[in-house]
């Protein structure tokens, strides 16, 4: 077998996804690679439009038909290539080995079908059981996600549940067939803060119980800090940094990651007492348009450290610290300056 690392459960290699629009080809994901171990939680962060959701969608091949397509790269689940899998095989994999929960709990459930049916149909489809057993499983799943009075509530419709409850139902659907990988695309973004915490706790608890690996996609570094073991930072469709979570928070190497960290709101008690509240730090500039080829480093126009080389030549990934990957020409220098 392998050296000391076990074979990864999911392996994404050099993934390219393009959207074919009237404004030209949009390179939404431009050469992203990562791997996921069994039972691990991998966080993917980045701002809106950086390609994190598209990356997730392409694992399940759920990109909008006729618009977006995987043009290059490979996605392997337990060594099995998914990008070239037949439609029928792909369908029997979705919701079974790999399942997904989405950002919008209010609209992600079908309003005209009972939540019980929406859980049970997944079970019926993949676990080869009858309707009755599937419905029993649905009740069991509702209990697992801590919906009170589950026996009665299986027959309710989504509009009878609150946003947080609906996200619990989504989790119940996603976990109903004991998937190996759960892709959570901004699962708590649309919820208010107390509910966010509950949902994250629930996901972590169930992950322990079922040993599911999670890909947690978010723009919220707080969510990453609470859930992930390893973090991947994306910018303009590319991976710019990857590190274990503690390492990333202690020593962000990419200027973009540093910008993200600085942009987090913090409570500065001392300043607060003196009656001045520090302004949130923003990252200057805008995300580049992805429908034109990007020369050099995509972050260069917004980066304070950018040199002529950054603007003309795209940096490859380097590993200045073991286990910590970064795509930046100036990374060592920045790290040296930041932590000298």
């Amino acid at each position: 077998m392998q050296r000391n690392q076990p074979a990864p459960l999911l392996e994404v290699d050099n993934l390219h996804c393009h959207f074919f629009t009237l404004d030209g080809v949009v390179r939404a994901v431009d050469g992203v690679s990562f791997s996921l171990q069994r039972g691990e939680t991998l966080g993917i962060v980045g701002e809106s439009g950086c390609g994190k959701s598209v990356t997730a969608m392409s694992i399940l091949r759920l990109l909008p038909k006729g618009l977006g397509r995987i043009v290059d790269g490979s996605v392997k689940l337990e060594g099995r290539e998914l990008t070239t899998l037949g439609d029928a095989d792909m369908r029997s994999m979705r919701g079974h080995q790999v399942s997904m929960i989405f950002q919008e709990p209010m609209t992600s459930l079908n309003p005209v079908l009972t939540v019980g049916l929406q859980i049970a149909e997944n079970v019926e489809r993949h676990l080869n059981v009858g309707r009755k057993a599937a419905m029993e499983r649905a009740v069991e799943m509702l209990r697992l996600v801590k919906i009170p009075d589950a026996e009665r509530r299986v027959n309710d419709y989504p509009h009878q549940f609150s946003g947080g409850m609906r996200q619990r139902v989504m989790i119940a659907i996603a976990l109903s067939c004991n998937p190996q990988v759960l892709i959570a695309d901004e699962p708590t973004t649309a919820l208010d803060v107390t509910i966010q915490a509950q949902i994250l706790d629930l996901m972590l608890e169930l992950k322990q119980k079922l040993n599911t690996a999670i890909i947690m996609i978010t723009h919220d570094l707080g969510v990453i800090a609470e859930t992930a073991q390893r973090v991947l930072v994306m910018y303009a469709g590319r991976k710019v940094e990857e590190a274990p979570v503690v390492e990333l928070f202690q020593r962000p190497l990419h200027p973009y990651t540093q910008g993200l960290m600085r942009a987090r709101p913090r409570l500065d008690v001392e300043a607060e007492e003196q009656g001045r509240r520090p302004r949130l730090q923003e990252i200057q500039g805008m995300v580049p348009a992805l429908n034109r080829p990007i020369l050099g480093c995509a972050f260069a126009p917004r980066c304070g450290y950018a040199t002529d080389r950054c603007r003309s030549e795209a940096p490859g990934l380097t590993e200045p610290v073991p286990g910590h990957l970064v795509a930046c020409w100036e990374a060592t220098k920045i790290a040296g300056m930041g932590h000298a």
Binding site: L62, G95, F102, S108, L109, P111, V112, L113
Partner: protein, 313 residues
């Protein structure tokens, strides 16, 4: 739900009353005099006056109305001016062909339109979609009588597969009955089918872009189940609405279709009665059509509650 249906049924009474008032007075305001038609071309004005007196048409309009309404409440639609038969009998005699034609048209149109619309939405912007929408435009553009004569020419005159005209009651056997309905149903149903197909496509297209369809796809469900359960059930409310509205369209189409195919139904009865100013028949027919429409609307409204759990009465 039962209470709702009862309430709606009771509400039909004022509706029918309003329809009755309008029908009665509009007919009498419209030009044309049944007495003159009965009397014929050579009659003197005295003859016409006599006939008017006999029919009660010389009375004040209000008096005629009160008289008619009173009889109506007892279930009596009056006597035909020309045939001297009770209007209820005449309508009952002509009911079967029209009901048969309407139902078969409805079934054929819905059975074709919904799959076509779903297919067009699923395969949006492809050749299949363009073909279906092309048919829909054509179906809209070709009038019932043109479609009728073209169908008769091809399938009855040239190929000899189906009867040219006429209607065979179901009592004479199902096969001849069905054969006599094929061409009229197609002729009458084309516009209707085009309408439903278009709405189905539009409604499905909107639903297919919803988040819950992506969820259904992420469960790896069969394409059929995603389209026909997850999407179509959500798209159903506008479709059912248009099916209901289309029944009004069918009722007017029935008049032309029955004339083209020489079917002795309510449509033909309507045309004949209007041309002769046979007031009692026209009044009776319009009330029957209005009642049918009210029932259809009620059925449509009740079906919403079954299709969408968020709708409750």
């Amino acid at each position: 739900m039962i209470a709702y249906i009862t309430r709606r049924l009771l509400a039909t009474v004022p509706v029918m009353l309003t329809v009755g008032v309008f029908v009665f007075f509009l007919l009498r305001i419209a030009p044309g005099d049944p007495a003159a038609i009965i009397a014929g071309d050579n009659a003197t004005s005295q003859d016409i006056e006599n006939i008017r007196g006999k029919l009660g048409l010389d009375r004040p309009m209000i008096e005629q109305f009160v008289h008619w309404s009173w009889r109506l409440l007892q279930g009596d639609l009056g006597i035909s001016i020309f045939s001297n038969l009770p209007v209820t009998t005449l309508i009952a005699q002509r009911m079967e062909p029209t009901i048969a034609l309407t139902i078969s048209t409805l079934m054929v149109a819905v059975a074709l339109a919904i799959p076509m619309g779903v297919l067009a939405a699923w395969k949006a912007r492809t050749l299949v979609d363009r073909l279906v929408m092309g048919f829909a435009v054509l179906g809209f553009a070709v009038p019932v009588f043109v479609a009728g004569y073209v169908l008769i020419y091809i399938f009855s005159v040239q190929l000899g597969w189906l009867p040219v005209q006429g209607y065979r009651p179901i009592g004479e056997g199902f096969w001849p009955f069905a054969q006599s309905l094929v061409l009229p149903s197609i002729a009458l149903g084309t516009t209707y089918c085009a309408l439903i197909a278009r709405i189905t496509r539009a409604s499905m297209l909107e639903v297919l872009s919803q988040d819950y369809i992506r969820t259904a796809e992420s469960k790896g469900l069969a394409q059929r189940r995603v389209l026909l359960l997850h999407a179509l059930k959500n798209a159903a409310v506008p479709i059912v609405t248009v099916i209901g509205i289309g029944i009004a369209l069918l009722i007017s189409g029935v008049v032309i279709t029955e004339t083209v195919f020489n079917i002795p139904g309510l449509g033909r009865l309507t045309v004949d009665a209007v041309l002769k100013r046979d007031y009692p028949i026209v009044q009776g027919l319009i009330l029957v059509f209005a009642f049918a429409k009210v029932l259809v609307n009620l059925t449509v409204d009740v079906s919403y509650a079954f299709l969408d759990p968020r709708i409750r009465y």
